[in-house]
Symmetry: C2
Subunit: 193 residues, 2 copies
């Protein structure tokens, strides 16, 4: 692995564990086996490092969602594929997912939030798209696409959250097909089923 790649990897892991503001550039460089000027050669600044990290790892994420969210005349099926893609990408790189969450919830005026916000906004639109393209199936949504997207995203997110609640074991972030079916059932028809 070349130095650039090594720095990105180290940074992701450290940012995840102790937060963007909680980790110094010095430490990232050291644990990557390089010195600070090398890091600054590639990324220009700490913020630049975060930006390139997000840009790179978001590409896979968006490609997967692009595919999964294509509506094929069946809301449940599309939601299933969407949820599957979401959980898969999370379990493929749990650190990145948790880093995203951390940045999103970090103070609105923090560098971390400002940097991650546009990425997450784009990501969120994939979920909105699903409900919009299912307009025929859902009848008059009265502009509730956003509400649906939110509550669906919320279900997915918090499903994971509790998984990783008191465990350090990120591999527990894997969600089975059956669990998705259950989650979907509840989302579509409520908890009385």
């Amino acid at each position: 692995m070349d130095n650039r790649e090594m720095i990105l990897k180290t940074a992701k892991s450290l940012f995840y564990a102790r937060g963007y503001d909680g980790v110094g550039v010095q430490e990232i460089a050291e644990k990557s086996g390089v010195t600070k000027p090398t890091l600054y050669y590639y990324f220009g600044s700490k913020k630049g490092l975060l930006e390139q990290l997000l840009t790179r790892d978001f590409q896979l994420l968006e490609a997967e969602m692009e595919q999964a969210t294509v509506y094929q005349g069946d809301l449940r099926g599309t939601l299933y594929r969407t949820a599957r893609a979401f959980f898969d990408s999370v379990s493929r790189d749990p650190e990145f997912y948790l880093l995203l969450m951390a940045l999103f919830f970090s103070g609105r005026k923090s560098e971390g939030f400002r940097t991650v916000y546009p990425f997450l906004e784009r990501y969120y639109q994939f979920f909105v798209k699903v409900f919009e393209s299912a307009a025929g199936e859902l009848g008059n949504m009265r502009g509730r696409q956003n509400q649906f997207a939110v509550s669906f995203t919320g279900c997915l997110q918090f499903y994971l959250l509790v998984r990783s609640r008191d465990t350090e074991d990120l591999s527990s972030m894997q969600v089975s097909n059956e669990e998705i079916e259950e989650l979907l059932q509840q989302f579509l028809y409520g908890i009385y089923t």
Copy 2:
């Protein structure tokens, strides 16, 4: 307002805006109109300041939830009161709520997370309690109390999230009774209603 109170207030506001790690003790002291030794006299450490801040503001929160989550033979009613209490406490002090979220999502090994975790764990139990006490109404839950609590909490959380998405205006965190009814309807009977 005495110095201690002033420091707590300033700290909450700054931590919310730029994150626990993003704010220095120096700045908190300055903006509170005191010097650092005064701050350390009252709180002992930066972590101590956060702890006392959480302890104080959680008391109100828990008292409200304690009341709201009493089951009275009607799940829907209890969920309504719970949601109402949740949204009220959030809109009463949006900064504190967002600070909690930020701390919760900050790195698992960060001081902020370690400090806030026990508080949130206790808070979460109120939601679990609701579904447990409604066991008769829901029939065999097959141990799904936790799943219900998670997905309900998720709905509430993300309802707020989108509210504050692209606005700096925290007052938009108010949720009307009608909105709660809608949210509840969806949670209980799914989105096809």
